[in-house]
């Protein structure tokens, strides 16, 4: 490594200031030169010197995916006898310091990537604490490669490269909603693959809501009777496959059951969860069975969803069914609770159940707004209603995830990418200790008007704009989004080449292209 560094002519750049540097999201620090290397035909992975033995094949698979995305389906058929042998890059040498490949909140995702400018049998180097850092390094490497259509070789321009990178936030999420519309398994896998390109690392799976209950719950096997149809369902084995697929790509899956407000579909299989047949939501707070079901679900979850957190929802609870239903009204009276007290009781009891299964809890912000001081100290408050919430949450000493709907709700089709880019999770939070309580942020793809036919272009490229906000060092972020238009357009075209249906940047929010033209200008 030392030799390589010495041979650099040091030209230190920070992304947004530099023309022609097309990496998204922008790494922490970037040095590069002005030469070209060509990827060898038998571009190889080696990992001698690593403590990590890759028994599960995470690294091997990631390398094979890397080759696919840099070929972007072109026929690579170069004649290497025409190239300077000193300009051939023979592979990537990966060094992973940790043997542990458990993926968990806060896992070290940093990496160093260096690519030499010449030499015999030279390799690029990626060095990282964990294999997940290496995955990010490989993503960055893939963005430095371009297929040259004239000489049919894959080129790395601007060598030598020396990149040091790490995320600004540990939680960089995307919400998908499989209740309003069922998303087939290949679609979810495609979304996971596309997240890795933008270095997002949490798939928040809003599995169940009012409209449908698609997931199998072994403890309560009638729950998925609430699915839209017999085929629009996931077995728990499917869920495990999603979790494993994501984990092998460095992405954690945060499972959500949104209680008590968004749970009408639960009652299709178990009608006694409804206050009554005519008043079906929120879940019946008065019955022990309600909490038994929640316990069963979270018990089943804990075997498959291994992320530290579980999301318990808690938003938009309209308690009128509780007061309108005689047996619940009676129960409220007996327990001396008004409806807001019962809402608090429900949320806190659900929290305790989650804690008993080893989870920390995420709840939507209404729970904090209504009874923040009562929440478990292990609660992470998930902002959505608007700006200004995060500062109150961290002032109260709780952790927070930022998703203010005016900027980071992808189902707001008229929300432009510039707004996604400029939304700053640490707004008005200056105290360093409080800043640390902001875990990160999340863009939300609610599914009312989105299904398998248009989810990709509704997510991308706007989620990528937020992804840079969540990954890149604050000082590297553009103060004016127009400065990054070209680089983001380039990333959007890269997504297109990799088969992701990312929408044009030009236009108000998510739109179809207005007229014929190059991808890079739209």
């Amino acid at each position: 490594m030392g030799k390589i560094v010495k041979s650099f002519c040091f030209l230190v750049f920070f992304g947004v200031l530099v023309e022609g540097l097309n990496i998204w999201p922008m790494p922490n620090s970037v040095n590069h030169g002005h030469q070209i290397m060509y990827l060898s035909n038998d571009f190889a992975l080696k990992s001698d010197g690593s403590k990590y033995n890759d028994a599960s094949g995470i690294l091997k698979d990631a390398f094979s995916r890397l080759l696919d995305v840099i070929e972007v389906d072109h026929v690579i058929d170069s004649n290497f006898s025409h190239f300077d042998p000193m300009a051939i890059l023979h592979g990537i040498h990966v060094i992973v310091w940790s043997q542990n490949d458990e993926l968990q909140y806060g896992v070290d995702e940093s990496y160093k990537l260096s690519i030499p400018s010449h030499g015999t049998q030279v390799y690029a180097h990626i060095e990282a604490q964990t294999v997940y850092g290496v995955l990010h390094g490989l993503q960055t490497f893939s963005q430095l490669c371009r297929f040259n259509l004239t000489n049919r070789a894959i080129e790395v321009h601007q060598v030598p490269w020396y990149i040091i990178d790490q995320p600004r936030f540990f939680y960089r999420g995307l919400l998908i909603d499989t209740s309003r519309h069922y998303l087939p398994l290949p679609i979810i896998k495609n979304v996971i693959d596309s997240m890795t390109y933008a270095k997002l690392n949490v798939l928040h799976w809003h599995i169940v809501d009012t409209q449908s209950f698609p997931l199998e719950i072994p403890s309560f096997p009638k729950l998925w009777n609430g699915a839209y149809s017999i085929s629009e369902r996931y077995t728990m084995a499917d869920a495990a496959e999603i979790v494993s697929y994501a984990q092998r790509r460095g992405i954690s899956v945060l499972a959500e059951i949104d209680v008590p407000g968004h749970a009408l579909s639960w009652g299709t299989g178990y009608p006694s969860l409804w206050p009554s047949k005519d008043c079906q939501q929120p879940l019946d707070v008065s019955k022990e069975f309600t909490f038994k079901v929640i316990d069963g679900i979270l018990s089943d979850f804990s075997k498959t969803f291994k992320y530290r957190f579980v999301h318990l929802g808690g938003d938009e609870v309209n308690t009128s069914c509780w007061t309108e239903t005689p047996h619940i009204r009676k129960w409220l009276r007996q327990h001396g609770l008004d409806t807001s007290g019962a809402y608090q009781y429900f949320v806190l009891r659900a929290q305790k159940i989650a804690l008993s299964h080893g989870y920390e809890i995420i709840n939507w912000e209404e729970t904090f707004n209504d009874f923040g001081s009562k929440l478990s100290r292990k609660t992470v408050v998930h902002n959505w209603l608007g700006g200004g919430v995060a500062e109150k949450v961290v002032a109260a000493g709780l952790r927070c995830i930022v998703s203010n709907q005016d900027k980071w709700y992808l189902d707001h089709l008229d929300a432009p990418w510039e707004g996604f880019y400029m939304n700053e999770p640490l707004t008005n939070i200056t105290n360093h200790q409080q800043q640390k309580l902001i875990l990160g942020g999340e863009v939300c793809m609610w599914g009312e008007h989105i299904d398998a036919s248009d989810i990709e272009q509704t997510i991308w490229p706007r989620a990528a704009a937020a992804a840079e906000r969540l990954w890149s060092a604050y000082d590297n972020l553009a103060k004016d989004p127009s400065q990054v238009f070209g680089r983001l357009a380039h990333f959007r075209c890269l997504l297109n080449q990799r088969g992701v249906a990312a929408a044009p940047l030009v236009g108000p929010g998510r739109v179809a292209p207005e007229e014929p033209g190059s991808c890079y200008k739209q």
Partner: protein, 592 residues
């Protein structure tokens, strides 16, 4: 733009009603309707019976048959009904029963016949196995108990010819039945004359398979199935336009793969238009300077790779799948199959290339400005220059006379030459589209040297248009291509067109009847019903279109090769092309 998604949704019951009661007619005076009878205690038999087609009796017959369908269990409920026939497009003949068969996740392949041992069959089998087993079957209740009814799929292909051309036999029969006393292992059997018929049979088989969430196995409902199927038309096309917006290779392959699900069989590749010229032409290496950017291009190897495929997109699925079942040898083999012959199409889909001349060719002049009448008046191509026709000829040849020169400058030429000498080999389909639509000859009139040429040759601009088209046709024919031209050429100078011309309808209804009356072949793409870029045309508009409308004699009907839905890309790119194509293209596929 995106509202079309809502506009074209339907529920399962409607879909079924259409598929079971829709006429499948090769004669417009007849309706072919499924006549389902309960032939024994557990068999339904459906045949498409010819029924006289008179407007007065149509409604009656239609109603009657639908009523019959309802009485047989085709009733609509809000839930999906297991007893319905969920096949699209609906096969021409089928019978089914009431058994439920479990399919072994380790489904294996057995082949027979002279053509059974084909890579195309083997690869298709692997592809479809990935499609059929999308859900995890790890917890199948049958797992390890060898209780599966279907453990093997037997594919018998009679012909060992893998030539894919217009009219190739795509028929197949498919039998899915429980093992009887004679055999221990249950099988599904596909029998076809060609590998391409076998591919269609595999597609149908995959649609019979459904994951059952109760047993966590893949099941075939309503077995035993006996299906005999063949397409009504030999040409079932979809057009893609890579000039208005460049489509990455991955996306084109994805579209090809999706076409195979609806049994479409021709990808009409409108490669070039006035906006951009994305394809490499080795004989004229400056042509692709007309691309939008240096990244938005296709090399000739890419074109070859796309055509050869019909090959299937290398998606994560099949790779992961390969890994899972430890057939790495096979996967490796697939990766190394660069040397196969140009004519082997893995998905049974022909690619028809188009250069749209002389009207839609402004981008040609970016690299060769001489092709423009003048720098200020750039379209149509300059009819007065021999260079223009040299260029057309060069494109249709690619590695022709000048390949020696090319190989000197181009390290790859020798590699390419070894498997694909020229454009004719890259696009082996017998049809080549020469466009010829929307030719505005103003530039010819307003450019002095072209005007002079017209005078010297005693031609009006309209005659020059004819001269251009006919000359281009001759070039294509000399390369053994049959030319396809948009209908304006027929509308303007029908009698002079080469008799091998295929007329491509688009402006409106009633053109194919005129074309076939004059003995030309015809492809139906009436823009009012089959243009996918018309976002407000709902799927039933696509479904109700009839390529044979107004054509009565059997001999004239034969001249209608089929139809094509057109995905013009002015306002469609990678981000929305798939949902603009589907499901409306499937509705048209159902008619074909």
């Amino acid at each position: 733009m995106f509202s079309l998604v809502a506009a074209v949704t339907w529920n399962g019951s409607q879909r079924q009603r259409h598929s079971s009661c829709r006429h499948h007619s090769s004669d417009p005076h007849q309706l072919y309707i499924p006549n389902c009878t309960r032939s024994s205690s557990d068999f339904f038999s459906c045949k498409f019976m010819a029924v006289p087609y008179h407007s007065s009796s149509f409604v009656f017959v239609f109603t009657l048959i639908c009523a019959l369908g309802v009485s047989l269990g085709f009733n609509s409920t809000s839930d999906l009904d297991d007893s319905l026939v969920y096949l699209w497009p609906l096969p021409s003949e089928f019978t089914f029963g009431e058994d439920v068969l479990a399919v072994d996740p380790d489904l294996s392949l057995a082949v027979g016949g002279d053509g059974g041992n084909s890579d195309i069959v083997r690869e298709a089998f692997l592809r479809y196995r990935g499609i059929i087993f999308k859900h995890s079957t790890r917890f199948s209740k049958f797992r390890g108990r060898s209780m599966y009814d279907i453990s093997k799929i037997r594919i018998i292909v009679h012909s060992d010819s893998e030539v894919l051309q217009l009219g190739v036999d795509e028929s197949y029969s498919l039998l899915v039945a429980k093992n009887d006393d004679h055999s221990i292992i249950g099988e599904a059997t596909i029998e076809a004359n060609t590998v391409y018929g076998a591919l269609r049979g595999l597609e149908t088989f995959s649609q019979l398979c459904a994951f059952d969430y109760g047993t966590k196995t893949v099941q075939v409902y309503n077995a035993p199935w006996y299906i005999q199927d063949k397409p009504r038309f030999v040409y079932r096309g979809l057009m893609l336009d890579t000039s208005r917006h460049y489509l990455p290779i991955d996306v084109i392959k994805h579209v090809i793969e999706s076409m195979s699900y609806a049994k479409l069989n021709v990808l009409h590749w409108h490669i070039i238009d006035e906006q951009s010229f994305p394809l490499e032409v080795p004989t004229y290496p400056k042509l692709w300077k007309g691309a939008y950017t240096k990244w938005e291009r296709y090399t000739v190897e890419d074109a070859y790779d796309i055509v050869k495929t019909g090959k299937v997109k290398k998606n994560a699925f099949s790779r992961q799948f390969c890994f899972l079942v430890h057939i790495s040898l096979v996967c490796l083999d697939l990766k190394l199959r660069q040397n196969e012959s140009c004519s082997s199409f893995m998905a049974g889909i022909n690619v028809m290339a188009e250069i749209d001349i002389p009207g839609h060719a402004e981008s040609w002049g970016t690299g060769y400005p001489d092709l423009w009448p003048s720098p200020s008046c750039r379209e149509p191509l300059d009819v007065s220059k021999e260079f223009t026709f040299d260029m057309v000829s060069g494109i249709l040849t690619a590695y022709g006379a000048s390949s020696a020169i090319v190989s000197k400058d181009h390290p790859l030429a020798y590699v390419l030459a070894s498997y694909c000498k020229d454009m004719r080999k890259i696009f082996p389909f017998e049809l080549f589209h020469l466009g010829g639509d929307e030719v505005n000859t103003d530039c010819w009139n307003s450019t002095p040297h072209v005007q002079q040429w017209l005078q010297d040759h005693n031609m009006t601009p309209k005659e020059a248009y004819q001269y251009f088209v006919l000359r281009a046709q001759e070039i294509a024919i000399s390369k053994n291509w049959a030319p396809v031209n948009w209908e304006e050429t027929f509308n303007t100078f029908a009698t002079n067109l080469n008799p091998r011309t295929v007329i491509h309808n688009w402006l409106g209804p009633g053109v194919c009847p005129k074309a076939v009356a004059k003995g030309f072949r015809c492809i139906y793409s009436n823009q009012g019903v089959w243009y996918l870029d018309h976002l407000d045309v709902p799927w039933d508009g696509f479904y109700n279109a009839e390529p044979l409308e107004g054509i009565n004699s059997a001999s004239e009907q034969e001249l209608v090769l089929g139809g094509e839905v057109c995905m013009w890309s002015e306002v469609a790119d990678t981000s929305n092309v798939l949902q603009t194509i589907w499901p409306r293209a499937a509705a048209a596929a159902g008619m074909q």
